[in-house]
Each structure stands twice: as C-alpha cells, then as structure tokens.
C-alpha cells in the first residue's frame, strides 16, 4: 500500500469486496470495543484513512510485548491493520540492521515529522544511561529525539507505561516510564505484562481509524479496554457476592469455579479487558483457568505484596512490630501507674513526717 493511498482504495485495489470491507469494519469495531452501532462510522473513517508511519522503540524490556503481539492469532483483521500502517522501525521485526536501521528511523522521522506514531515498549533507565543503549544512543536520548516530532506516543506494556518490572523495588537502573520523561505529547498507555494483543492492535486501529487519541482513564489508558476492572466483568462475580470462595487451588470450591479472592486475586483493583477479550484467541484468561489476577496492568504491581495475599489482608508489616508495640504500651502503662503510686506514697510519707 502506498502512503498516499487511502485504506479504502487500497483494499478495493486488492479485490476486497465491500462485503469484505464491512466485515473488516465490524471486526475492527469489535476489536476497538466499540458498540456495533458504530460500524458505519468506522467504515466511513477507515475508507479514507491514510497509512501512518510507525516507529517502534524497545528499551528495557523482555520483548514479551512484541511476542504477545506477533503471537496474536494473526487474524486477517490484525494483519490488515499492520498492512495499513507503515512500520518503519522495529528492532525485532525489521529486516534492516545496524546503521541501515538507524538510517530508516531517521528518514521516517524526517519524512513524517509531526505525523508519525511513536510506539515504545520497555522502561527507560535514568540511573545510568549506559544501562541500555541502542547504536550507542542512550534510551533517554533516543526517546526524547524520537518523541520530539511524533503525533502521539503509545506506551505498550506496563514497563513503558509505569516502569513495570525494571522499576520494581529496589529499581537498580533507575527505570522510569515514558510519561515520566515526555510531558508535551499525548501518550496512550497500553499496560499489561504483556498487554492483550488485540488491545494493542485495537488502539492502533483506533488511531488509524479516527486519527485521534481514544478516551483515556486517569492512568492514561484507553477507557474502551481499561474502563472496567477485571472484577467488574468477572464471570466468577456471583460467587464473590454469595461469599463462596476457593480456599486453596485444589479444594472443592476451586473445582466448582468459586471466586479466587481469598487466594489473592487482584481483580477488584485491576483494570484490563481480560475478562471479556480473554487470551489465546479468546480461549480463556487466568481466572478462567483457576488462578487469580495478579494485577499486571497496574502501576507497581510487582511491589504490592505476594500475588497470593488477599487484597483485604493489608501489608501491615510483621507481627513482631505489633508484639513490640504491645510490650512497649504495657510497659509504659504499668510504669506510669507504678510511678504515680510511688509518688503518692512519697507524698503521703512526707505528709506524715510533716504532721508528726
């Protein structure tokens, strides 16, 4: 597809029928979590959409986000979306290497100044820039340079969105998120460790379709996917309401599919689309497979205590501190009481000697 061609014209030239296009649009609308009534608008917008240039930067990451994306069920709809964008730079996926790769990035930035979409996965180490470099350029410099002329930035994965695992206590590299550094560009956080692949493509599709940023929540995530908590949409919710909880992973309750709250499920405080979109071609999601949500799409999910500690249990430290407090309290109480007593005694004694 040529860059100046609209998506509609491109599909038409590929012999895709209008029916095929409408099917593509309803699948895309579903992908973007839009109500089916929006299909008409999606069709109108997609027809005239132009192919945006995308630069994808990978910083301190494990490539899990890219793996998630490329291992997505590669359905036509998603690959079409990839056809519909021009992925001009991506470490893992591009053919070019070395200077050629960097040249491609620079060329794309220059040609599409102000219009390209910057996608980032991984966090940025600011403790010492040398912790992570690409072609001798520190992540920090590359991010600043590439963000300067971007139309918008998509931070893919919890690392890019909130610092993620590199940011976890004690954060040896001084890892920070994209939004900690870039303040003057619209940033869409597509969090998750990794994010659900169709959520990544859904957000790309939104940008492609409407050329705009979707509505975001207070943590910068698209509301269409992160608007409701796992718990809000969990099919085990009726068990939660009835107070039927699995107490271990192999008890009768677990077999009956009861709620996993007591086993540490973080669903109530985690916002993501797993409960509806699910994973692996919509097969299942952790709770569907009997394991609680670990809260991977939330900031600092790694530092919120054990994945198996119930939310209600709190992180109140150790019993020793409480026992210490008990001992100290008792000691002070008894001490003051005894002191008061002996003072009184002394006073009484003094009184007695006075009167004699």
């Amino acid at each position: 597809m040529r860059k100046d061609q609209t998506l509609g014209a491109y599909l038409f030239s590929q012999g895709v029928s209008r029916r095929g296009f409408l099917k593509f649009c309803s699948a895309t609308a579903s992908l973007m979590a839009l109500p089916p009534t929006m299909v008409g608008r999606v069709a109108a917008a997609l027809e005239n959409a132009r192919r945006p240039s995308v630069i994808w930067l990978s910083f301190q990451e494990c490539t899990g986000c890219t793996e998630s994306l490329t291992r997505s069920h590669a359905p036509t709809v998603e690959s079409l979306i990839f056809d519909a964008i021009s992925l001009d730079y991506h470490h893992t996926l591009q053919a070019a290497a070395g200077h050629g790769a960097e040249a491609a990035r620079e060329a794309a930035m220059e040609e599409n100044a102000g219009e390209y979409l910057l996608v980032v996965d991984g966090s940025i180490p600011i403790g010492n820039p040398a912790y992570s470099t690409i072609a001798g350029i520190s992540n920090l410099d590359m991010l600043k340079e590439s963000a300067a002329n971007a139309a918008a930035i998509i931070a893919v994965g919890t690392c890019a969105a909130y610092g993620g695992i590199p940011h976890a206590n004690p954060n040896p590299t001084g890892a920070v998120s994209v939004s900690d550094i870039i303040k003057d560009k619209p940033i869409i956080n597509v969090s998750g460790c990794p994010p659900i692949p169709v959520v990544i493509t859904g957000v790309l599709a939104h940008f492609l379709t409407f050329g705009s940023i979707p509505e975001l929540d207070e943590l910068g995530r698209p509301k269409a996917f992160f608007g409701q908590s796992i718990h809000d949409r969990c099919y085990r919710r009726p068990f939660y309401e009835r107070g039927q909880f699995a107490k271990s992973f192999d008890d009768e309750g677990a077999r009956q599919g009861w709620c996993l709250y007591e086993l540490g499920c973080k669903g109530p405080t985690t916002y993501n689309a797993c409960a509806t979109l699910k994973w692996n071609e919509g097969t299942s999601f952790p709770i569907g497979s009997g394991h609680g949500c670990i809260g991977c799409s939330e900031p600092d999910f790694w530092d919120k205590g054990s994945f198996y500690r119930p939310i209600a249990a709190g992180l109140w430290g150790s019993r020793d501190a409480l026992l210490g407090a008990a001992a100290a309290g008792a000691a002070i109480g008894i001490g003051t009481a005894l002191a008061a007593r002996s003072k009184k005694k002394r006073a009484n004694a003094a009184k007695e000697t006075e009167s004699t």
């Binding site: 718990h231 709250y261 109530p268 600092d300 119930p310 992180l315 109140w316 409480l322 008792a330």
Partner: protein
C-alpha cells in the same frame, strides 16, 4: 505509592501499632493505678461473686429508670450486634483478621452483611441525632463522644460505598475505607471507644467494691 498502597501499608502498620500500644498502656495503667487500700472493715471478705453479678445485671436496664432508657438501651444492643456481625463475619474482614491473628472463621454471605451494616449505620445515625437534640444528652456529651461516633460512622459509610462500588473507583473507596478504620484505630485507646475494653472490668470493679461495702450494685 498510591493511596491504596499507603492505606494498606504504612498507615495500617502505624495505626495498628498505636492501637495495640495505646490499649495496653491504658489497660496496664488503669488496672494498677487504682490500688488504693480500702481501710474500712469489709462487710464481706470475697466480693468476686458480686463483681461478676454486676457484669450481668448491668446488661439489663435498671428497673428504676427502665421507662426512660428503654429505647436507648435496646437500640444500643441492636447497634452493637449489627456492628459485630458486619465487622466479624464479612469475608474480606475475616481475611484481614486472619492475616493478623493467624486463624480465620466462617463468613456470612455478602447480602446479609449489607443488611446488618445498613442497620448499624441507621441506628448510629438515629443515636447521633438523638444525642445532638435530646436536652439531657446534649449537655452530657462532649467532643470525645462526637469524635468517637465519627470514627465509627465513617468506616460504616465508606465500607458500604466500597462494597457497592459507589461514588468513586473501587481502589479509592477501599483506600478511604481503610484510612477511616485506621483513624478509628488511632482514636480508640484515647477516647470513649476504650469502653470496648473497659466496660466489663469496670463493672466488675464497681460490683465487687460495692459488695465489699455491703451495698447492692
């Protein structure tokens, strides 16, 4: 650190330390300080039975005043029972107790807890209004009474809101609920909420000392 992390972490830890230390400080002090010898001749050597009896008899309204205090008395009972059921038998609460004590117990379904919590809240409101309007009660109430009611009513309201996901995001509601409970923990040893720990010992004390003097408690 998010508000919820703060509420679940340091705030919880410190409020619990203050609660435990404060309660033991006051208990230790109260038990030991009042050790003044009664010099009069005892009418009865062992007044233990009188002490225990008083714990029981004061659990019912005194005959003389029964007409006047019946409402107060029974609404007090209803309120305490509703509160205890809500606090002790809500599954997430039990998980909290379990994390502190090391053991748990069976829970009641959420629908029942919601009802008991609503009852507790309604009664406490009624009692608060009565306290503020009833001429006698108004005079004998001080700041301690109102603060104590406030730190109990706040967890009830925020707990119901968090349960129903009403008004804000769940993690915010949960954080506010925890913080309100932590406020209660901190206030507990220093105000009238301490009656939780002192009611029975002081009844016993009164009963046995009257008994010693041969007076009906």
């Amino acid at each position: 650190m998010t508000l919820l992390d703060f509420a679940r972490g340091p705030a919880l830890q410190w409020s619990m330390i203050i609660l435990v230390a404060g309660v033991l400080w006051r208990l230790g002090g109260t038990i030991l300080i009042n050790a003044k010898k009664d010099l009069s001749k005892a009418r009865k050597e062992h007044a233990v039975a009188d002490g225990l009896k008083t714990i029981a008899t004061r659990s019912l309204p005194a005959h003389q005043f029964e007409k006047n205090i019946r409402f107060q008395h029974f609404s007090g009972y209803a309120w305490h029972i509703a509160l205890f059921v809500s606090v002790l038998f809500f599954a997430p609460h039990i998980l909290f107790f379990e994390s502190v004590l090391g053991f748990g117990w069976p829970s009641l379904p959420n629908s029942i807890i919601l009802i008991t919590a609503a009852i507790a809240l309604a009664i406490l409101f009624a009692l608060l209004i009565r306290r503020a309007t009833h001429p006698v009660q108004r005079i004998i109430s001080n700041a301690d009474d109102y603060i104590s009611i406030l730190v109990v009513i706040a967890p009830l309201i925020t707990g119901i809101l968090a349960f129903a996901h009403l008004g804000a995001r769940y993690e915010t509601l949960l954080a506010v609920h925890l913080l309100s409970v932590e406020a209660l923990f901190v206030w507990f040893p220093f105000g009238k909420l301490m009656h939780t720990a002192l009611t029975f010992p002081s009844r016993y004390q009164a009963g046995s000392s009257y008994g010693r003097k041969g007076v009906r408690a």
